[in-house]
């Protein structure tokens, strides 16, 4: 049983290639965060190493070891825990350096220890440095027998085309809202209204919906951010600028969080756009409907559109190392005044 929601095409393909014994040696799973890339990669490594007749059974020692992350032949390279100091990793925490890849190449030439296949899963493959990616090329093209590479990425464009071309690309697109809703109703026994709201909010990313049901801290954080954003538009200038400087401070510590906040705010403004444009049923944050409809009435379509562009610009400028405080304050000052 494959524990993946949606993704019929990816699943069908993998199941068939397993059945026909035509599993390629290198995969690239692309798709936005929280659609199940890591889950699918781990399940695939269970499937090739499973000891029962009906892989992946999830019960045999191999499957259990993989699920607990202690299987000796399944290496999960994740960016969060590279186990290396910043210096060893080529000077940056947010990248996968050549040393890690060389380790992998060494491991790839050893026979599998417990299972049948050595599986290397590289999470966040777009974070491979140029050296590391090039270093991987030859191994990725013609690895030793019984070696499986699975690269996962949310930003395929940032991978060199030479890497992409050596992998079998499996695209995992966001799941449709109905599928997520049905899963929540059947699998998690939610009421259908609650499920619908959550399914809309998670934009086809099943992992997010599951987090919401489990009341994961990350989800709670998200809800808090949204409620702060909801009132931000109506707040006075002092409050807005204070928020901006708070974000800027946070950016110094955790840049991703600030960018996530901005992205969330952009999705808020997208709701305003959808309401203004006459498509209220499509909005992301359905539980805030009262607020969004009220705010949509304050602005013209042009104002909404141009502010969404401003948020996008701000995110881009933050990526390009602009002064975060300046960028965010300019963004706040650019908030359309609306009817007030």
């Amino acid at each position: 049983m494959w524990p993946i929601i949606g993704q019929p095409r990816a699943l069908a393909w993998i199941e068939r290639s397993l059945k026909e014994g035509r599993l390629p040696h290198a995969h690239l799973f692309t798709g936005p965060p929280h659609v199940g890339k890591t889950t699918l990669a781990l399940t695939l490594s269970q499937a090739v190493n499973c000891e029962s007749d009906d892989p992946p059974c999830g019960k045999c020692p191999s499957c259990l070891h993989i699920a607990r992350g202690i299987h000796p032949d399944v290496v999960l390279l994740s960016t969060e825990d590279t186990g290396l100091s910043t210096e060893e990793n080529g000077g940056s925490k947010r990248s996968i350096g050549i040393k890690r890849i060389m380790e992998i190449q060494h491991l790839a030439h050893l026979k599998p220890y417990q299972g049948r296949w050595r599986v290397f899963i590289i999470q966040g493959a777009e974070l491979l440095t140029g050296d590391a990616a090039n270093c991987l090329l030859k191994t990725l093209e013609e690895p030793p027998p019984n070696v499986l590479f699975i690269l996962l990425t949310a930003q395929e464009d940032r991978l060199p085309s030479t890497v992409v071309s050596r992998c079998q690309r499996v695209e995992m697109r966001p799941t449709s809202t109905e599928t997520v809703r049905d899963f929540l109703v059947q699998g998690r026994s939610l009421s259908s209204e609650h499920a619908e709201t959550l399914a809309r909010q998670c934009l086809g990313r099943t992992g997010l919906a599951v987090m919401a049901v489990d009341n994961h801290p990350e989800w709670q954080q998200r809800q808090e951010t949204i409620s702060a954003l909801a009132s931000l538009i109506e707040a006075n200038r002092d409050k807005q600028l204070a928020t901006a400087s708070g974000w800027a401070e946070q950016f110094g510590k955790a840049p991703e969080t600030t960018k996530d906040t901005l992205t969330l705010w952009r999705s808020w403004w997208r709701d305003l756009l959808l309401i203004k444009g006459g498509c209220p049923p499509l909005v992301t944050h359905q539980d805030w409907e009262g607020q969004t409809i009220k705010q949509a009435q304050q602005y013209t379509l042009g104002e909404i559109v141009s502010f969404i562009h401003s948020i996008g610009n701000a995110i881009q400028q933050l990526d390009q190392n602009a002064n975060p405080r300046l960028v965010l304050e300019v963004l706040m000052l650019g908030l359309p005044q609306g009817m007030r």
Binding site: R22, D157, S165, G312
Partner: protein
């Protein structure tokens, strides 16, 4: 359950003789002639984009030279030597992954081993793949060996990024440029593979695959493999479309109609429908742009160019009648500029482009505050300021930059006239550097800050022989500018500024502190004894 992985197509169908290498006739013909005349060079450089056959050709060449049955033409692929090489167990073929063994130590080791004569083959062949990743020291250590190797050694270097090789390496090799494959040759090769694999794939499917592979055979073979594994040996157009996330025309037509009708609500619904079905929005964007372009062609009367069925053409004509040329151009620009790279899966860029299209008519948005779902019937089919594309975000007076259409850029600053001669060209470049490079802003889709790189990370050093030498202070910016497309942009800019075609060469230099006190002191005969650390 798969115990043993059967090889993927691109490994199983690696060409085994020069005639099987498709789409690279100039290369294969030259190599065959060299083999026939017995005039094989001692150092080759194969360069070109991914999946064009560099590594394969290198291996075939190694076989052809060493084949026990002659060695004057194609390899026989049946003698012991050919087989050993095909299976990757020949002692005398050394294939080196230069990206993993990139240091001077590995090259030194190679140099020592080069002197040993081959064990059974005629020549010892060294294939150095991904050679662009060698360190500068390693390159230099290789130079002497590459120039005059022992008579039994042949070097074949292969790379996708030839601009990273030093000129000293280039001049010691016979260079062969592998080109992107034409659609026809890709289709031909896929057909061959399909026949031998027992697949029934119609040629229009193959053509679609080839188009999506953008000239890389490996990408095409991967796609074909994924198709046949997913859908079995009988594959039709619907299946490829589903795999590639192509929408088919209906919804594209639908959306274009809503765009021209200025029907925002329906348009938004269409876009979200496409998203909900899990289709590739970027592909969808491409199709919309394509369709709009065809409409534009029909509107201008260039009907012969549009390649569609008569029925469709009729429909397009009726659509084209709805909107004015200006609106159509504006819509085309907005949708082409919608930047889907930051988040592939969000429909927002398309929704924004649609909203802006609807806003185009006479800033309608500015007056309808307060009402939801404004009626958006076509009223004034023209923008007031004569720049249809720039009035899109005009409502709020907020500055907007992201998908700025090309035309919107500020007018070029006037530059002082240029005298002839390389000396004056250099001083002209130096004097007007800021204005010249400011035009680079937004020209490169991948490096939006191209102008900033040029402004602050480099300076023009010399102008010699129609080549402008740019000195960069750090390798990162140098690499960026050296990328083919960026370099073209810079070359274009500089040629435009200098009034004649110029090329660009990038080198690394030290940042020179431009200090008027220092230069005055130097003029008066001072000598630099110590460089302080006071810059920045």
């Amino acid at each position: 359950m798969a115990q043993e992985s059967s090889q993927v197509y691109y490994r199983r169908w690696r060409p085994q003789s020069l005639s099987q290498v498709v789409g690279q006739e100039p290369v294969t013909r030259t190599l065959l002639n060299a083999l026939a005349l017995g005039r094989v060079a001692h150092a080759y450089l194969f360069c070109g984009p991914r999946g064009t056959g560099k590594t394969s050709t290198a291996r075939i060449l190694a076989k052809a030279i060493n084949c026990f049955q002659g060695g004057k033409g194609e390899p026989c692929n049946s003698c012991a030597m050919c087989q050993a090489i095909s299976q990757g167990r020949a002692m005398d073929l050394v294939e080196m992954d230069a990206a993993s063994n990139r240091g001077i130590d590995e090259i030194r080791e190679l140099r020592e081993r080069v002197n040993f004569v081959p064990s059974e083959a005629r020549y010892k062949v060294y294939i150095i793949d991904e050679v662009h990743m060698l360190t500068p020291d390693a390159f230099n250590a290789l130079l002497k060996t590459l120039e005059e190797p022992p008579p039994h050694a042949i070097f074949i270097l292969a790379t996708t990024e030839v601009h990273k090789l030093p000129a000293t390496i280039l001049s010691r090799c016979q260079r062969f440029d592998f080109r992107r494959l034409s659609q026809k040759s890709v289709v031909g090769r896929l057909q061959e593979i399909g026949d031998r694999e027992g697949l029934h794939v119609p040629s229009e499917v193959l053509a679609l695959i080839a188009r999506n592979a953008s000239g890389s055979l490996r990408d095409a073979e991967n796609l074909l493999e994924q198709l046949t594994v997913s859908y079995g040996p009988e594959v039709g157009l619907t299946e490829v479309r589903a795999l590639l996330g192509i929408t088919g025309d209906e919804r594209v037509r639908e959306l274009v109609r809503y765009i021209l009708d200025k029907n925002l609500a329906q348009g938004l619904a269409t876009i979200n429908g496409v998203r909900d079905d899990g289709l590739d929005l970027r592909q969808f964007q491409r199709e919309v742009v394509d369709y709009l372009r065809n409409l534009l062609l029909i509107k201008t009367g260039a009907q012969g160019v549009v390649d569609v069925s008569p029925d469709e053409k009729e429909e397009m004509q009726s659509l084209a009648a709805i909107a004015s040329m200006k609106e159509m151009v504006a819509a085309l620009k907005l949708f082409a500029a919608a930047d889907m790279r930051w988040d592939n899966y969000s429909p927002l860029p398309l929704e924004l482009a649609l909203a802006e299209c609807c806003l185009l008519q006479g800033n309608a948005g500015a007056k309808e505050r307060g009402e939801v779902a404004a009626p958006l019937a076509a009223q004034v089919p023209q923008a007031k300021d004569g720049h249809p594309s720039s009035s899109g975000g005009g409502g709020g007076g907020v500055e907007r930059k992201a998908p700025a259409p090309r035309e919107e850029r500020a007018p070029l600053p006037e530059l002082a006239p240029l005298n002839s001669g390389p000396e004056s060209a250099l001083s002209y470049l130096k004097a007007n550097w800021k204005q010249i490079v400011s035009r680079a802003k937004g020209l490169s889709p991948k490096v939006p800050m191209l102008d900033a790189y040029l402004r602050s990370a480099c300076q023009p050093l010399t102008v010699e022989d129609k080549t402008v030498v740019l000195g960069f202070y750090y390798p990162m910016q140098k690499d960026k500018i050296e990328e083919m497309e960026n370099r073209r942009i810079v070359e274009g800019l500089l040629s435009q500024a200098l009034g004649s075609p110029h090329q660009v060469r990038c080198v690394l230099t030290q940042r020179k502190v431009d200090n008027h006190l220092l230069s005055a002191a130097l003029d008066m005969g001072a000598r630099v004894v110590d460089e302080g650390d006071e810059n920045e």
